[in-house]
Subunit: 402 residues, 2 copies
DNA sequence: GAGGCTTATTTTTAGGCGCGAACTAACCTC
DNA sequence: GAGGTTAGTTCGCGCCTAAAAATAAGCCTC
């Protein structure tokens, strides 16, 4: 409600941003189409796109013949104006990916990690960034930014600080550390669930929704909430700790120490834990992923009961989000969420319907996620792109040339 | 992220809005103070305030001598530029209040209601509005808008529609009905918890916070969530149904039909219900308010256990909000919330601390509400004011003269 | 009590911006 | 190649804010 004052320069910046965003999200468009879809006059659309073409942000992308008139020239964001890097810092390894501005993946590097300690992780990130650049021949000066998705919450001050209880990170100044390890482009550190949510919003099942909840079920559970097209962060970027909301007051003890957290019931670890307790036949699976697969396909009564209960808890948890946020879309993602959802989406939806209020439930569509295994990295790479689009790539603010 | 295009007219509108909002919220200010606090140049602050003075939106409010220079002339929002009406539609009666633009209460009317049926309610609202106007001699043409706080959720389309399961309202076109009952000024229908939250944000314990959660415990429980200074509404204005989030999976059946809702544990009705079950000595109190008072002051073991448990459930519920929204402030309000909080705030805070994650909890301050019993009406009256401030009282858009 | 000093506000000037109208460009059909 | 049609550009206008200059309105000192 309380906005900041604005000047004519802000006007231009905003309209540049609007045009650039329209072109980025809705592919090649002619100047007149742009004018129609943004509401700007043809004159203004023309002068601004002219400016953006001069600056190298846009390129022409062929033309479309029309029935009897001058053909339209299609414009698009120049894929090689700059590049972006997305990094997924996981508990077992680091994935670094390089994209051009059309979000085409140019290079990928996977680096295994023995112990997720901040020092070595920062070094590996820097090494990975260098590797993807040299592998694809992209000069470092062309990189608009490096996005980093991390487990745990990210506090954004002058320099991002990471808190991740589960891997023992307490107030780790990761942004500074990565910078000191030799990464020069602007850094964007963000919680992995939020970067993955961003990927679903731009390229996956969240496309087009203004109010959406992206539920991520992996070993634990997390959520990214988008309201009014904006990712929800809260006062200190700690928002969205859905996994540790109480759903069974006085229930099972969670690894965070509290009783009855959703994560103690609905994550892969919790499901497998409850299964181990229920059936003493001991899964032989080597890792969580195949263990969950085994649990989900098992026909034993114990397995089926665990799965059924988990579906119930997850549905209730989703219903809580539906009641609180009233989204138009819920996207179920994360490796465990996709595995569970592939077989049980109907029943998850039914459990949600059972626990949610009729009215908000009637507004929502619940879908499976549609981004691949590198969603965290893709989402991380969108962060510098989002920054570029939001500022309208204002040439007056400091920016590295393309 | 995706904004709309803007023109020079939007610029002016926005800067008018910024100045007007600064004056409304931070009392009388001189032109130069305005310039400093908004970031606008002194010249612009001067021309815009000149315009607003001409239009009657502002008045001079004395001057302050300075040490050796020209004294500053203080400006303020003209209290009699227009008036606003706030209506609280409750389950037992309707309260109508008239304010000037300085939010000074000019007149109040309380109308008892036998059965909350939409038709009679609309008629009563219209009658109440007419009464407060004639009582204070304010002409109807001076009323900028009438805000109406209602139980249940409000769907805002071309005309607001109310859903309130608890009182049997299903898709009631209240806005149209009130209009047809003879209320002419613009109508602003909103959920009562949200209007009360708005009152706390502007005049109560929420002042100054950009991310806040206003928890309302009455007969049932509700919440208003403010993120980034904006009241959270969701896709169809149904957001914030905290009372029916599951906190005890499979627990007590709630009046909404689902098991384990927070409202089945933490509202006054739930507390009294559990008390009746626990202690068969039967309260003799004539109404809920005094019954709760009795419960809270009773020294019986049963009463103390019920209160203690309720504090735990409420704390867990608040912790869920803290984890999900990461607010800087939690305000506990509502008649039952204030009664409970007056004696047990420490223990509610402790219960919240116990259930919330360390980090988001460390950012939050939990306080008692500071608005009086007419908070819903005051908050409702702020709705037209907020609309006025947001549009910058643009004289080009249709508006009734002051 | 006149001149100088200080601070507040208004006026003037300059640089931008988006829009609408008029204009040019590039194609098609007959 | 004339006429028609659609796409894109140019130009003048009205508005906007910022910066600089001018004016207003007090206080202080000698």
């Amino acid at each position: 409600m309380v906005r900041a004052r604005a000047t004519v320069r802000d006007l231009r910046r905003q309209n540049r941003s609007v045009l650039l965003t329209a072109l980025f999200l809705d592919g090649p468009l002619s100047r007149l189409q742009l004018s129609a879809s943004t509401g700007l006059s043809a004159a203004t659309a023309s002068t601004i796109t002219g400016e953006l073409l001069d600056e190298g942000l846009l390129t022409e992308a062929g033309s479309v013949e029309s029935d009897g008139g001058r053909p339209r020239v299609l414009l698009r964001v120049n894929p090689v104006f700059g590049h972006v890097v997305g990094v997924d810092v996981g508990e077992t390894g680091i994935k670094v990916e390089l994209f051009d501005l059309a979000m085409t993946r140019l290079s990928t590097v996977d680096l295994p990690v023995a112990a997720v300690r901040p020092g070595p992780v920062s070094e590996l990130v820097a090494a990975g960034v260098a590797q993807v650049l040299s592998a694809s021949g992209v000069p470092a000066s062309s990189v608009l930014g490096v996005g980093v998705g991390v487990p745990g919450t990210v506090e954004r001050g002058t320099s991002a600080v990471v808190h991740a209880q589960t891997i023992g990170w307490d107030a780790v100044p990761l942004e500074r550390m990565i910078r000191e390890a030799g990464v020069e482009p602007p850094l964007f550190v963000e919680n992995g669930a939020k970067t993955q949510g961003q990927a679903e919003m731009w390229f996956g099942a969240g496309r087009g929704a203004r109010h959406a909840v992206i539920v991520l079920v992996g070993s634990g559970v997390g959520v990214a909430v988008v309201t009014g097209g904006v990712m929800h962060r809260g006062a200190t970027s700690n928002a969205g700790e859905w996994g540790h909301t109480t759903i069974v007051y006085g229930g099972r003890r969670c690894r965070c120490g509290v009783r009855g957290c959703l994560e103690a019931y609905a994550g892969a670890e919790a499901m497998l834990g409850r299964y181990r307790e229920a059936a003493r036949d001991g899964s032989s699976a080597p890792d969580q992923v195949s263990a969950l697969e085994e649990l989900l396909t098992s026909r034993s009564a114990a397995a089926r009961r665990v799965v059924e209960e988990s579906v119930g808890y997850l549905g209730a948890g989703i219903a809580n989000l539906v009641n609180l946020f009233n989204p138009e879309r819920v996207v179920l993602g994360g490796w465990a969420g996709l595995a569970l959802g592939a077989r049980q989406l109907d029943r998850i939806v039914a459990a949600t319907a059972e626990h949610a209020l009729r009215h908000p439930y009637a507004q929502v569509r619940i879908e499976l996620g549609r981004t691949g295994p590198d969603a965290v990295a893709v989402g991380a790479a969108t962060l510098p792109v989002a920054a570029l689009l939001e500022t309208g790539a204002d040439p007056r603010s400091a920016r590295r040339a393309g």
